[in-house]
Amino acid sequence: MFKGSGRYAKGEIDYITTRKGGHNNAFTSLDYTAYYFSFAADRWDPALEIEADRMSNASFDADEFELERKVILEELKMELDSPWGALRQAVETRFFQRHPYRFPVIGNRRDLSKISLDDMKKHYRRYYCPSNAVLVIVGAFPLEATLVRIEKQFGEIPPGEAAVVETASEPVTREARRLTLNRASEVSRVLIAFPAPSIRQTDHFAAHVLECVLAEGKLARLYRRLVEEEGVASLVSTEFGETFDPHLFEVRLELREGVDPEKAISLLFEELTSLAARPVSSAELERARNQCITQLFEDFETTLDQAVQLGLLEVLDRFEYWNEYVERVRSVSAEDLQRIAGTYWSPDLSLTGVLSA
């Protein structure tokens, strides 16, 4: 998408952006692909024309396609060379049996080698169209004149059809699953994945709050128990994001020298089980809610942050989610957290990946 379209030769999009002192890039998530530009407000005029042109007129030269395949294979190798990258990919691809979330966003080696230029063109023609896209502009720009420009640039493009997302429901297996990676490693690493609510489920708010209870700051439960009190881990981190369908809550542990991964895993499960059994204190709840709200402000600090957040929400659900966020987080109760811990983050629903030293 950066290698040429009807009006722009290869490299020209980057060139124009640079001459205007701007930045551009793109990223792909589990559910969507985003293209973005950042410019000073007095010089953003090329962005609309570029996006409109490459939405309908991308060139897709065969040689460029082969070069990019090589680059992506290098990116994949880089990810798999990293211990966390390899462990994460192993756990995430094994977790789901039916849902397309079982495929890594970057692709796997076999598919990347097989994909043809024709496959890519079909994908482009099907999904890159106005009915399946959201345009977000944030910053100091004149609203009315900009709406006219948008109509002019995008109005002539055939609307196409919005993608129908096939939601394959996952079979529920109530049995803790396990995988082991065999490779040389200086420290043992453990990645434990649990099912997590999608952004379209009300439980999403409470899950955010519970994530803070578990892992945000030095008072968080997992840090206190695993790092300070038991001394089994030197690092605890978690990951939980916004997805269209239910995806994952992940806990990562780097273990201290000589610690048996089984011990760390059982301590983690103990913490989660106790969260399901007993309500958190009101101070702990209030702290976690406050942490969520501060995080929200930080996520909206720059204009690019705002554009990305609004865009992803509109694609996945509706952008008003953010307007309600503070109120919804404030209304999360201790019982809600117990429900999340019991319903989603229960040991018998987890898949644990272990990379032993």
């Binding site: 950066f2 980057d14 001459r19 002192g21 070069l67 040389a184 690092l235 780097e254 501060t294």
Partner: protein, 426 residues
């Protein structure tokens, strides 16, 4: 008050030498409170790498008035955050709080900087965490490569060690050494406070004075490591790791931020190796045109500071393509030295640097970093307004002349990390 468009700030100097910069940014209801103490890994004795870093990590582990749990309660209770990091030439203590919590934040900051208690059991816990982290970094080929590269660029200097230290250095640390390090290095004349957020500059300056004006340190001393010299012969280091990719680092000692060629080399960075997208030569040719790598760049100004940073060109690629990748990097650098740059490249770099400068002032943390740089490198209050003029005055012939005098494609350090290969070793 200095005003340059979107960012305004005020500067005050306390009698004890503490500098305080305050900027009001009302976009979000938060405040970023930062103390930058010029006590980084540069102050470590050669056999005590990691000393500055562990001292910093213990600042929030107990003070005269608060034990570690209380500090965490104060910060996290209202949803705030605290990060403490050592760098090569300074330690940064940064609080991100709701703007209404400014006074609590300043009280806590004063406690951490002035009265840390360094409890023994917290020292041991932090030491174990650091040792484990250092072990885990040995699994990461990119970190291994950068560390090896630094050791070659800064031989016999604390600047050559990882900020966190080495396993040997951290194992050797004693708590008494941490206490002494704090006693000698943490001092008002050595500290810059930078506060950015939804706060009143006048009121903030008053509160700062309340918490810091009686801070004195008669034991203050600052050491300066020997000025690093650029290598005069080539150096090659190989490190074998069983991985698919090879990581190649090529370069030598760079420049300090006050170097007269700094801005010229910023232009060169944009043209050669760290411009946006694939506009600069190395990413365009090696990644976009040859498909050799996902990650490749070069840079000389990004690491400049009080001390010379490093000039480094980097590429990671499949092991079988290592020769091609290394030759590609060298070829680009030689081409630059032999044939120079084009007028169009110079114009593009002018436009990019002057047009993108405002992105440095988008977030509270970014603004704080810029204000610190202005203070530390004496850039002057009119620096943001002057920046465009400085950049636009740089000519093609000047860039070519500086490139030839500052980059060396004969006497460089080459670090290669990846699977074994006898042919490449030749």
């Amino acid at each position: 008050m200095t005003d340059f468009g979107p960012v305004r700030y005020g500067r005050s100097l306390l009698e004890n030498g503490l500098v305080c910069l305050v900027s009001d940014n009302t976009r979000i209801p938060l405040v970023s409170i930062n103390a930058f103490v010029l006590a980084g890994s540069d102050q470590n004795p050669m056999d005590r790498s990691g000393l500055a870093s562990i001292t910093a990590r213990l600042l929030d582990e107990g003070t005269r008035r608060f034990e570690h749990r209380q500090i965490a309660e104060i910060v996290e209770g209202t949803g705030g955050g605290l990060s403490i990091f050592s760098h090569r030439e300074l330690t940064a203590v940064s609080l991100q709080l709701k703007a209404a919590d400014l006074s609590t934040g300043l009280l806590l900051l004063a406690e951490m900087l002035r009265y840390p208690t360094f409890p023994m059991e917290r020292f041991e816990l932090e030491r174990q965490k650091v040792l484990n982290h250092l072990r885990s970094l040995r699994d990461d080929p990119q970190t291994v490569g950068v560390q090896l590269f630094s050791r070659c660029i800064y031989p016999d200097s604390p600047l050559g060690f990882p900020i966190l230290g080495t396993l040997e250095g951290v194992r050797a640390l004693r708590l008494q050494e941490v206490r002494e390090f704090h006693g000698r290095k943490y001092s008002p004349e050595n500290t810059k406070l930078v506060i950015v957020g939804d706060v009143s500059p006048a009121e903030t300056a008053l509160q700062v004075a309340e918490h810091f004006s009686d801070w004195r340190n008669p034991h203050f001393e600052r050491t300066r490591p020997p000025r690093p010299e650029r290598q005069k012969t080539p150096i090659l280091r190989r490190h074998v790791m069983d991985r698919e990719q090879v990581h190649i680092y090529l370069g030598h000692l760079g420049i300090s931020r006050d170097d007269t060629d700094f801005y010229v080399l910023q232009m060169l960075d944009v043209i050669v190796g760290s411009g946006p997208g694939f506009t600069s030569r190395i990413p365009r040719r090696l990644r976009d045109e040859q498909g050799l790598a996902y990650a490749t760049f070069s840079d000389i100004t990004g690491s400049s500071g009080l001390y010379p940073g490093r000039f480094m060109a980097y590429i990671s690629t499949t092991a079988e393509q290592r020769n091609q990748a290394l030759q590609g990097l060298l070829q680009e650098l030689n081409l630059l030295l032999d044939e120079g740059v084009t007028d169009e490249e110079v114009e593009t770099a002018h436009d990019y640097l002057t047009g993108s400068f405002l992105f440095d002032f988008q977030s509270n943390v970014n603004i704080a970093r810029c204000l610190l740089a202005m203070e530390l490198f004496d850039l002057g209050p009119g620096y943001p307004q002057r920046y465009g003029e400085i950049i636009r005055s740089i000519t093609r012939s000047r860039i070519e002349q500086v490139a030839r005098s500052r980059l060396d494609t004969l006497n460089y350090t080459l670090v290669v990390v990846g699977p074994e290969d006898e042919e490449f070793a030749e």
